[in-house]
């Protein structure tokens, strides 16, 4: 069925002005090879939904530095110094959500839930223009589900159908993002035959995954390095 594709083949999926969900927490669980491909395209004005904008010159950090990002929705951009500068110059829009609200909104976006009430951030600057509602004596804020045109995620292993399992805390936002976009590209460390992943252990069922690509990054000591 051809869901296993080369890195070059994913370029045609990505278009200017798209909203793209990108997995990862810092660099852990980030689709580094896929994000590098964005640099080989002329797309721009991207709206990115991701916890951070990459880190240390890797992942989304590179994409941002190439000027391809118009807006970022996430929970923690303070580590991205250039993003802070760009924001203060008005060159980058930022929408800040508490990390749990971000994760839940993406989950809801993928699960046919239009919106939800969370108690997180009630009474703070982040919710001052949002709808507050009391439910059973507790105050909650309304948040809408979040979806993307494309999700770029990272998993440890895929089988050839697209079933995915993850590695330790590199799981993070990847499973929920896999559910919440029209097209899902999963970068993986290893591709195995169908039947090799235990049905009880699969985290992301294959029906969520459109493309699988082999990662070109490996861990060496305390960093990721690219192998060609």
């Amino acid at each position: 069925m051809g869901i296993i594709v080369s890195l070059e083949e994913i370029r045609h999926v990505l278009k200017s002005d798209m909203r793209i969900l990108v997995g990862g927490f810092g660099i852990s669980g980030t689709p580094l090879s896929v994000l590098d491909q964005v640099l080989h395209t002329d797309i721009e004005n991207l709206e990115i939904v991701s916890n951070n904008l990459g880190d240390n010159g890797m992942g989304l950090h590179k994409v941002f530095m190439e000027g391809k990002i118009k807006k970022a929705i996430g929970s923690f951009f303070t580590i991205n110094k250039e993003a802070v500068v760009a924001w203060s110059k008005g060159e980058l829009e930022i929408e800040l959500l508490p990390q749990g609200t971000l994760a839940e909104a993406i989950r809801c976006g993928g699960a046919g839930i239009g919106g939800f009430y969370t108690k997180t951030a009630v009474g703070t600057a982040l919710t001052k223009d949002k709808e507050i509602r009391e439910i059973d004596g507790q105050r909650y804020v309304f948040e809408k589900g979040i979806r993307g045109d494309v999700a770029l995620i990272k998993a440890a292993k895929a089988d050839k159908l697209g079933n995915l399992v993850y590695h330790t805390t590199a799981r993070n936002f990847n499973p929920v993002m896999a559910t919440a976009a029209d097209f899902v590209i999963a970068e993986v460390d290893e591709i195995v035959d169908v039947g090799e992943l235990d049905p009880e252990h699969i985290v992301t069922p294959h029906i969520y995954v459109d493309y699988i690509v082999q990662s070109t990054y490996i861990k060496e000591g305390s960093e990721y390095v690219e192998v060609k």
Binding site: F25, W87, Q99, G100, T120, A125
Partner: protein, 215 residues
């Protein structure tokens, strides 16, 4: 061995934890708490998707994917498990953590805290702080009492951005441990080199303190 300020705070907080507690440690002083548990077994949760966080790994067994919420490599203990970010914050918001230990920038006399937005700087990062404030069964603040400019972090009213309506349970500083009651801020424990009078003077707020006479 003489403890520094940060260690004094961490050690005092370790006393508050109970065997079997599920605990989330914020960055900074809270991470030091693990060193003072003296064999008490607690389960450390990391909001990026782990329960059963262990000590920093040996250098040759670092896995840079396996990190804590401060993005530092960690190890895991026996019985640990991994889950995604949505499930992790479900755990946090749903009241399944016994204790969250958090740093602050300010705390007001009601126990409401400000711990995410530095004044006069762009507000571009919040992370999981507000989820922990809203969701943990008990929130303990771990912080030095005075900022670098000498001002008290314990204030009448927050001037920094609030982290949520929820009042914390305890504020452990290097001089004293504070509780927040309807009568006012209560000093539950005084252990630094300031008398209660000096403390009240420096903080600039009325503080309740009951001396235990029959000791």
């Amino acid at each position: 061995m003489k403890l520094n300020k940060r260690e004094i705070i961490a050690k005092r907080i370790a006393q508050e934890l109970e065997e079997g507690d599920v605990v989330n440690l914020g960055v900074g002083i809270p991470t030091l708490v693990s060193s003072f548990l003296e064999g008490k077994k607690v389960y450390l949760q990391s909001e990026n998707g782990l329960i059963g966080m262990g000590p920093p790994p040996e250098e040759n067994s670092v896995d840079i994917d396996l990190i804590d919420a401060g993005k530092t490599p960690v190890s895991i203990t026996k019985g640990a498990s991994f889950f995604d970010s949505a499930d992790s914050f479900g755990m946090i918001r749903g009241g399944h953590l016994n204790v969250a230990i958090l740093g602050i920038l300010q705390i007001d006399k009601s126990g409401e805290i400000a711990n995410w937005a530095v004044p006069n700087q762009p507000i571009l990062g919040v992370g999981g702080a507000m989820d922990l404030v809203a969701g943990a069964k008990k929130v303990i603040v771990a912080s030095t009492l005075f900022a670098k400019d000498g001002s008290s972090k314990l204030v009448d009213q927050l001037t920094y951005e609030s982290s949520g309506e929820r009042k914390v349970d305890l504020f452990v500083s290097e001089y004293a441990t504070f509780m927040f009651t309807s009568e006012g801020v209560k000093v539950v424990d005084l252990y630094g080199d300031l008398t209660i009078e000096a403390l009240i003077e420096k903080v600039g707020l009325p503080l309740l303190y009951e001396v235990e006479i029959a000791k």
